[in-house]
């Protein structure tokens, strides 16, 4: 079985972001970029499945401008066998990403598609569900545990939902999106970083994949959220109870 993992290059999770003064977006120049944390978890899960002997190959995919290649090299350094870069100079909405992924799935024929549940920049949480819909594959989103049965060709997925932990059984091929507790991604070791330099990255252009580029969402502006009024540090529990009762009127 081949596993395809879609990864995204985003502003690093620890960076304190700034909104551009012209409100056109968030400042990303000279800001640390990394592989989306959920995508790292997705790749780690694919690698674990391969290492357990249930898959032959892990292919990492990313879509965007040329600096996507950095993220793909990180993926290759973690252990992916090959990478695919779909070159796109503008922002793609999740539906377009899903359609591009569908084309790649038709070319590569993976038995499993793993994605992070959401990207920490746009926080959309849509792409995995969309590609599953387009392919007609079952979906196991927000996965915190995945167990394969090679014989029965099913995946049992524990999902983190509002009410607790839901367990589903999915026929393969399937789409899984990863949640935080699925695994702890490995660090790329120096020897693997060196090896990654010679692993292949195939490039596709949007024209080659011949997919309709959806542009039905327009960004009007990006603004800062309203700031909270500064608070006070109190000196005793008595004072806290008093404030909550007589000032804030919440107890």
């Amino acid at each position: 079985m081949k596993i395809m993992v879609a990864v995204k290059r985003v502003v690093d999770y620890a960076v304190k972001i700034r909104v551009k003064p012209d409100k056109s977006g968030v400042e990303t120049q000279n800001v640390k970029m990394s592989m989306n944390p959920f995508c790292e978890i997705a790749l780690e899960e694919a690698l674990k499945i391969k290492e357990s002997g249930l898959a032959k190959e892990v292919v990492a995919v990313s879509m965007g401008p040329s600096n996507c290649v950095d993220t793909l090299r990180t993926g290759l350094a973690m252990g992916a066998d090959r990478a695919i870069h779909v070159e796109a100079s503008r922002d793609l909405v999740p539906l377009t990403v899903a359609k591009l992924l569908k084309k790649l799935v038709e070319i590569e024929n993976p038995g499993l598609l793993i994605l992070g549940k959401q990207a920490i920049d746009d926080d959309c949480n849509q792409t995995g569900q969309m590609i599953a819909g387009l392919l007609g594959w079952p979906q196991g989103t927000f996965a915190s545990k995945v167990v394969f049965d090679k014989e029965k060709q099913v995946a049992t997925v524990d999902r983190e939902v509002d009410g607790g932990l839901e367990t589903l059984c999915l026929d393969l091929p399937a789409v899984i999106t990863t949640d935080l507790r699925l695994n702890q991604p490995r660090y790329a070791t120096l020897p693997n970083i060196m090896k990654a330099k010679s692993k292949p990255i195939k490039k596709f252009t949007l024209e080659e994949l011949n997919v309709e580029i959806k542009s039905d969402i327009e960004v009007v502006q990006v603004t800062e959220p309203p700031k909270r009024k500064a608070g006070v540090i109190l000196s005793s529990v008595d004072e806290l109870i008093d404030k909550l009762k007589n000032e804030a009127h919440v107890i």
Binding site: L168, I217, R228, V250
Partner: protein
């Protein structure tokens, strides 16, 4: 194959119908129900629909099987003055809220009804199902909306809520949204709407496209039994972080929550460490809460946690570290040891009336 042919022709006819009628709004709400009642957060989706435009008849879509579904339908018919129709999809396929049958159901109902908007609440049900349905309908959804500025302009948080993005939807009907329930509170509905309740009708499932249904099966749902109110809608939330050190110590948080009639929340670190189950996690990828009072004990205040609670009306933070980032959002802060503060609070807090 025949089903697909019928669906395609239906869609052509209704595309014409919907472009003609596109100026008037009509909304389909994807509602959840449990134990014979509509879930409270689904009503937020109805509240959101009312803010899209004044004249916006709302149809509530319920799916499931058996008597609890029919009971929920009866309650749905009188749950909100905006609801003019309740659509009921009754089949074993919907015994559990699986994305595959639900997405096909939404596609079927939309092609028949030509709604201008489809809305779900942004909980695990809406997040799981809405985007799949949107892909089937070939439209980009707008997810996690916190403000509606007109029928096609919305505000949604990005970068863990550290920025707000105003977007305009410029595509064809339907405009599909998931909305944060904390941003669309439901005003108390006075009395029973027994007169003028909505009509209830069964969805004709005979043309439901079977492809992809049956490839997923529900096995079980593990939840913790609790007397505490629902975290997503509680008036008061008491949260513990990793500083609680053990699942046993978390009982202190529980006791305080009980005294205040509050829900219990937790940080990612506390859940990762196994102190509490995942459904208590508050944060960017956990639950978003906006209670009247949020009390955080031993919580450092990482960006990702703040994303889940910074819209709370009053925030109290107790932490040994005076430099903890949580103090930057707290209205009232106490620099101290939670193992001393909590017992003192338990002793001195007035009894709940």
């Amino acid at each position: 194959m025949a089903c697909r042919f019928i669906l395609q022709n239906l869609s052509k006819r209704h595309l014409l119908h919907s472009t003609f009628a596109s100026r008037s709004a009509s909304t389909l709400i994807l509602a959840e129900h449990e134990g014979g009642s509509i879930k409270a957060q689904s009503l937020s989706a109805v509240a959101a629909a009312s803010s899209i435009s004044g004249d916006n008849p709302v149809s509530l879509l319920l799916a499931g099987s058996g008597s609890s579904l029919q009971q929920a339908a009866e309650k749905a018919a009188t749950c909100h003055p905006s609801v003019s129709q309740v659509l009921v999809a009754d089949s074993d396929k919907f015994a559990h809220p699986l994305a595959e049958p639900w997405a096909k159901l939404i596609q079927l109902v939309q092609l028949k009804g030509g709604y201008s908007h489809v809305i779900a609440t942004s909980g695990s049900f809406g997040k799981n199902i809405l985007p799949r349905a949107a892909a089937l309908l070939d439209v980009s959804p707008v997810t996690d909306v916190v403000e509606i500025n007109g029928p096609h302009q919305f505000i949604r948080p990005i970068y863990a809520g550290n920025a707000l993005c105003t977007v305009r939807y410029t595509g064809a009907n339907p405009c599909m949204l998931s909305v944060r329930s904390t941003s669309f509170p439901v005003p108390p509905i006075s009395g029973d709407l027994k007169s003028g309740g909505a009509s209830i009708s069964e969805v004709d499932l005979s043309t439901l496209d079977e492809d992809s249904i049956g490839k997923s099966r529900f096995i079980k749902l593990s939840s913790e039994e609790t007397d505490r109110p629902d975290l997503g809608s509680a008036r008061v939330v008491v949260t513990g972080g990793r500083a609680l050190k053990s699942a046993d110590n978390f009982k202190m948080i529980e006791k305080l929550a009980e005294k205040l009639g509050a829900a219990v929340g937790a940080t990612r670190a506390a859940v990762d460490a196994g102190f509490v189950p995942n459904e208590l996690q508050v944060g960017q990828t956990g639950k978003i809460v906006a209670p009247e009072l949020y009390m955080a004990f031993g919580v450092s205040g990482a960006i990702q946690h703040l994303a889940g609670m910074k819209d709370s009306k009053v925030i109290v933070a107790v932490n040994k570290d005076a430099d903890a980032p949580i103090f930057q959002v707290a209205d009232y802060g106490l620099v101290g040891d939670l193992f001393e503060v909590i017992p003192e609070l338990l002793e001195k807090l007035p009894e709940k009336k």
